[in-house]
Every structure is written in C-alpha cells, then in structure tokens.
C-alpha cells in the first residue's frame, strides 16, 4: 500500500482522523441547536395555552423539573455506552447517532450490517475510512427513517387514533417483537464465528445484562435496569481485553 493510496482511496484504518472532521462536529452541534430551538418554541407555546389545558404554570415547571431530574440517571447511562463506542465511530457520530436520534443497539447494528455488505468487520483490520463513511451514512439514513415515519404517521394518528385501536392487537405486539428479536439475535450470533474472544464477549455481556435485570426486579432497584447496558458493555470489554491478550482473538 503506497502513501498516495492511504490519502486518497479511503483504505486507511485511521478512522478518528476523518470521524473528527470539523464539518462533522458542526453538523453534530447543529442537531443540538435544533433540539434547543424546538424546546424553546414548545415551552413558549405550552405556557401560552396552559390555562386552556387545565394545567397551571407551576405544574408546567414541576413537569419540566421532574423530566430533567428523571433523565439524569438514564442520560449518564447513555453517556457510558457512548464513551465505549467513541473509538469505533468518533465523537460527532456518537453524539448524534447514539446520544441523540438513535440508540446504541440500532446504530451499532446498522453499522455492522452496512460493513458486512462491504465484506468488512467493524473495528477490525478491514474497518477502513471507506467502510466507516458508508456505515455512518447507512446508519444516518436508518435514523432518518424513524423521523420520516414520525412526520408521516403523527398527523394520520391524530386524525384516526381510534381506527388503529381496532387492528388486531396481536399485530402490534407479535410482529414488532419478532422483528426486534430476530434483528439483534442475528447480528449477535453473527459475531460467534469470528473468534473465541468474540463468543466470550457476547456471553459475558448477556450474563451481566441478565444479572442486572434480575437484580433490578428482585431488589426493586430501577436504576440497575437503566445502567444494565452500560455495565454489561464495560465488563464485557474488560473480559474481551483479557481474552484477546490470552490469544483467543481471531488469527491474523
């Protein structure tokens, strides 16, 4: 591989050098700005119409404050997950995709599917700048689809909420559950053939998550449910590091 190739054809694996481009930072902060603008518009509209909705100004403030306080735990839990993904996607992509619009599960899933179509492995030797750009694009389009369906569905639902309730309720429970389970089980089990260390990582994360959810229920500790994903990822990464150093990683 010559130096010119490195610079020009996207085959370099130095992801963070392009993932932290100023343009990407500007777009990430742009999404932050849009959300702030939206919040300001909504708060002003809510204050104005509050009496008509039978809600007092004090109750609006209480709602804002309870929302803000209730979000502290979950937000920090998301932060932990986001930090674990920084090395993979860089800060701007993590902020927008995992922190905001999407979630860790869907976005890493989408990135993995996109990388697979290019015969590449996320984070591995084949994870080039080119693969990163395609994966980032595919997960952004994926996230945009949620917004597109929201933009289309909300006015429709507003008009005919009652009609939807008549649809067989099983369609709304069995179908999404099946789709969700199949997507994540497929992406997860696809990791197993890669190496023993991948298998151990997958199992560790699953066990830690299961333990967190079990304890959350047993001991009635809701915060364990929120932090489960973050804890599971961190513990699994420690185990992965040990397994990898022990030589259980893929044969180069």
């Amino acid at each position: 591989m010559t130096l010119t190739q490195l610079v020009e054809d996207g085959s370099s694996t130095n992801i963070l050098s392009i993932a932290n481009m100023p343009v990407l930072w500007a777009c990430a902060l742009g999404v932050f700005a849009v959300i702030i603008l939206q919040s300001v518009i909504y708060i002003r509209a809510a204050r104005k119409a509050a009496p008509a909705a039978g809600i007092t100004g004090a109750e609006l403030k209480t709602s804002f404050r309870s929302g803000a306080v209730a979000a502290i735990g979950p937000s920090l839990a998301v932060v932990l997950v986001a930090i674990a993904l920084l090395a993979l996607f860089g800060a701007p992509a993590v902020l927008v995709r995992i922190g905001l619009i999407g979630s860790a599960a869907y976005e890493t899933g989408a990135a993995n599917i996109a990388a697979t179509t290019m015969d590449a492995t996320l984070g591995g030797a084949t994870y080039t700048q080119q693969v990163f750009a395609v994966a980032f694009f595919a997960m952004s389009i994926g996230g945009a689809m949620w917004m597109v369906t929201t933009l289309i569905a909300t006015p429709l639902l507003k008009r005919g909420e009652h009609k939807l309730a008549k649809v067989n309720p099983l369609i709304m429970t069995v179908v999404p559950a099946a789709a969700l389970l199949a997507a994540f089980i497929s992406i997860g089990l696809g990791e197993i053939p890669k190496s023993g260390a991948h298998l151990i990582t997958l199992l560790t994360a699953g066990v830690v998550m299961g333990l967190c959810l079990f304890l959350a229920k047993r001991l009635n500790r809701g915060w364990l449910r929120e932090w489960g994903l973050g804890f599971a990822i961190v513990v699994a990464l420690f185990v992965a590091y040990a397994a990898h150093t022990a030589g259980l990683g893929p044969v180069a």
């Binding site: 849009v34 919040s39 993995n112 369906t149």
Partner: protein, 246 residues
C-alpha cells in the same frame, strides 16, 4: 399572563370555553408546524454530515456500495420504524412525537421522564394535561441530556480517547459490537416477554447463519433482513391467540 402569575387560581373558571378551544388549537398549530419544521431540519443536518464525508471525503466510495449498505439496513429495520411511532403515540401525544423521535433513547430515557412528570402533577396520559406534562418533561429531559452529552462525551470523552493507550482503544473498537449485542439480546428477550417469537427467532437465525449461509455465501449481506422477515412470518403463524377473558 396575570392569571398565570397569580398561581393557584382555577383557570377553567376564568376562561370561556370558546377561548380555551381557540388556545388549544393555537398550541396544536404551533407545535405541529414548528415540530415538523425542526424535525425536518434535524433530519437534514444529521444526514448532511455523512453525506459530506461520502461525497467530498475523497474516499473512493461507489454509489452501488452506498445503496447496497442502505438497502441492507432498510431491509432489517423497516418493520420497527413503522411500528414504533404508532406504539408511542398514545403516551406521548402529537406534539411530543416531534420531540421524542429527534431526541432519541425514547424507551429508556424519555418515557420514564414523561411518566414521572405525569405522576407528579396527577395527569393522565392521553389527556390535554398529560400531553402538556409530556412536552415539558421531554424539554427537561432534553436539557439534562444535551448537557451531559456535551460535557461527558463531547469534551471529556474526546480527551479520554486521546490519553488511553492505543492497545486498549483497539480492543474496545474490535469487541464493542458483541458486547452491545450480548446485552441487547438479553434485554430484548426479557422486555418483549414473548416466548414463541424468541424461540422462532433463535431457530431461524441458526438455520440462516449456519446452514443457509455456508451454502449460499452471497447472502451474507442480507442475512439479517432474511432472518427478520422469516421470523415475523413464522412467529405470526405460530402466535398464541389471546384467550377471551373468562
């Protein structure tokens, strides 16, 4: 304004029904119009970054590579995109929909905030009071979330990744996908509480990954989409009908 400042007075008595209806219609117009506009802006800006990288990053990406990747992602998640907005609408109300699907992390962060706010002022979901509480709670949650993301991920995280040894970040990069998926699978199984679809999904995935793929390696890029569609169809025919209440 004076009514608001005076605090605990019951506004419903001071507001004529016609005026109340007009005010609510105005709120609905404002949030619908601006909710949509801001969401479209968010959509465009969020896609603009990667689009710039693909078009001007000089990475030699072909359009067929790009659309194959997008098609594989669409094929996997399209059912979830269609269903999620419909699922959350009754709790969030129309105005908050445009907030929730842009701020993200709905089930793990926004819904708890909304429920706490609605409980603390005694408002029921689906009512006007409930919808207003939801809007304010999401604004509050967004404030907390944006701040913690900027400080802990944007600033602290970027610093952290520059000081952690390369060997450690390499391992994190390499194994973070199985780490996320192992946890997410368990979470999905426990939160959906659907035994049959779970078993069907495992069976279908095992067949696709370890029997179909070795036979037809070319299907690797659409294997997850195939598993999703096959699981949905089989799970639907293997469903347990709800027993009418005795």
């Amino acid at each position: 304004m004076t009514a608001q400042q005076s605090g605990r007075i019951n506004f419903m008595t001071t507001l004529s029904p016609a005026q109340a209806t007009a005010d609510l219609a105005e709120f609905d117009r404002t949030t619908s119009r601006w909710g949509r506009l801001t969401m479209i802006a968010g959509l465009i800006i969020s896609v603009a970054g990667p689009l710039y990288l693909v078009l001007f990053g000089n990475l030699g990406i072909t359009s067929s590579q790009l659309w194959t990747a997008v098609a594989a992602v669409l094929g996997t998640f399209f059912i979830i995109w269609l269903v999620e907005p419909i699922t959350y609408f009754p709790i969030l109300g129309p105005a908050a929909m445009y907030q929730a699907f842009m701020i993200g992390n709905i089930s793990n962060k926004l819904l708890p905030s909304v429920l706490v706010a609605q409980t603390s002022i005694g408002a029921k979901p689906g009512t006007e009071r409930g919808n207003f509480a939801a809007v304010m709670a999401i604004c509050g949650a967004a404030a907390t979330h944006l701040l913690s993301l900027l400080v802990f991920v944007g600033i602290l995280g970027t610093w952290l990744i520059s000081v952690v040894p390369a060997g450690v970040t390499d391992v994190a990069r390499f194994y973070v996908l199985p780490a996320v998926m192992g946890a997410v699978i368990v979470q999905a199984i426990i939160s959906t509480k659907q035994l049959r679809p779970t078993l069907v999904a495992f069976a279908v995935v095992l067949v696709v990954q370890f029997a179909l793929l070795p036979l037809v390696p070319g299907l690797a890029m659409v294997s997850t989409a195939i598993s999703v569609i096959a699981t949905v169809i089989i799970a639907w025919f293997a469903r347990k009908e709800i027993q009418p209440a005795a």
